[in-house]
């Protein structure tokens, strides 16, 4: 009998849970999570990467603390979107946790979050294939959005996740982020190699693929990602969202 786990489960009941994940770091999980949550109607984004809390950096929420009411931790509001992050609890303190505690913290974060009448809960996961994934599996039957770049190392590492999810009976969607860069004049560059590795991976696991370009202008939207309306957001809306609604 674990009251916080029970509450976390009930908070998620009836909502569509989407887990943005990848064993590899730095492939764009947090960015894709943010743009996806911004593109869904009625979503709460829950940042489960308790060591980096990238969400607070993307949305300019650093140093802000969550309000806590009778209904729990009130998400930060960015238009229609709600955002919940451990950053809103610990401010700018580093989070260092021995094994097991991270899972407990994640469970409390979901249990205490006021998810209101959101239809979607988007989880931004840390890299690896550890407690975070297991903890989320305990809480809900999530839909996995697996993120990779085209690079050989990334695709190989992400294959672990695909195989794991497959064995768990899940059908993930594969996002190949930073797949290409538009150089103007119809020219396209592929700084992380061609897409063959990633596309083969998707085929092996029978997963739909969405390819997202590199947009160098993204860096200038760090801190105000909700104002970004460029090519990556467009692709997320047009190609990723339809698989999830």
């Amino acid at each position: 009998m674990e009251p916080l786990r029970q509450l976390a489960k009930e908070k998620l009941r009836g909502k569509k849970a989407i887990a943005v994940m990848s064993a590899k770091g730095g492939v764009g999980k947090s960015l894709v999570s943010a743009l996806l949550a911004l593109s869904l109607r009625g979503a709460v984004l829950v940042d489960l990467d308790v060591h980096t809390m990238a969400t607070t950096k993307l949305f300019g929420l650093e140093g802000k603390l969550h309000e806590v009411t009778k209904k729990g931790i009130e998400p930060f509001k960015l238009g229609e979107l709600g955002v919940v992050s451990l950053g809103g609890i610990v401010k700018d303190k580093y989070v260092v946790l021995p094994g097991g505690n991270a899972g407990e913290v994640m469970e409390s974060l979901v249990a205490y979050a006021n998810l209101g009448d959101a239809n979607y809960v988007v989880f931004d996961l840390p890299p690896g294939l550890g407690d975070e994934v297991l903890t989320l599996e305990r809480l809900t039957d999530f839909f996995p959005v697996v993120v990779t770049t085209p690079s050989a190392v990334s695709v190989k590492v992400v294959e672990y996740v695909m195989r794991y999810l497959n064995e768990r009976g899940k059908r993930p969607l594969l996002v190949v982020n930073m797949a290409y860069m538009d150089c103007g004049d119809g020219k396209v560059a592929r700084p992380f190699g061609d897409l063959k590795n990633a596309e083969d991976l998707a085929k092996r696991y029978n997963a739909p693929v969405v390819e997202l370009p590199i947009d160098p202008s993204l860096e200038s939207y760090i801190g105000k990602i909700h104002e970004y309306d460029g090519v990556v957001k467009g692709k997320v809306k047009k190609e990723l969202v339809p698989y999830l609604t």
Partner: protein, 147 residues
């Protein structure tokens, strides 16, 4: 203020348990809470009493037991108790106010507390978070320990 969420968690969990075990009336629920989370028992009980109606917990009483954790430093091996880190807790409350991180999430303790001997954050506590330590039911009149 998240005492209301804690009460909700306890109620939902015990209601589930009661339904599964065909228990129609619960007399008492005993809840264990890490002492350094400093939950407000008054608010917790008020929340519990407000939300318990129309359930097998309609007449249930809430008993709160604050548990003092024993910490162990995995770096130097020292075993220590709350009073050894009292000053650290106080300065944390000073910095964050009432809704300070360990109030909401006791499992964050290693991030905010250091071993008083070697300064390491590599500390484990056996009391991680809220537990249900006992449920007393009307039918038998005896305490039944679950968890």
């Amino acid at each position: 203020m998240h005492e209301w969420s804690v009460a909700e968690a306890v109620i939902r969990t015990v209601v589930n348990w009661a339904n599964e075990n065909h228990v129609t009336q619960v007399k008492k629920v005993k809840v264990g809470i890490p002492s350094f989370s400093f939950l407000d028992v008054e608010i917790l009980k008020e929340a519990f009493d407000t939300m318990k109606s129309d359930s097998p917990l309609g007449k249930a009483e809430l008993e709160v037991v604050f548990k003092d954790p024993t910490f162990k430093c995995r770096n130097c091996g020292l075993t220590f108790s709350l009073k050894d880190v009292r000053d650290q807790l106080e300065s944390l409350k000073g910095e964050f106010g009432e809704e300070y991180p360990l109030h909401l999430m006791p499992a964050l303790a290693p991030s905010f507390l250091k071993c008083p001997k070697c300064g390491s954050h590599d500390i484990v506590a056996e009391t991680q978070d809220i537990t249900i330590d006992g449920i007393e039911v009307e039918e038998s009149g005896t305490a039944q320990t679950v968890g």
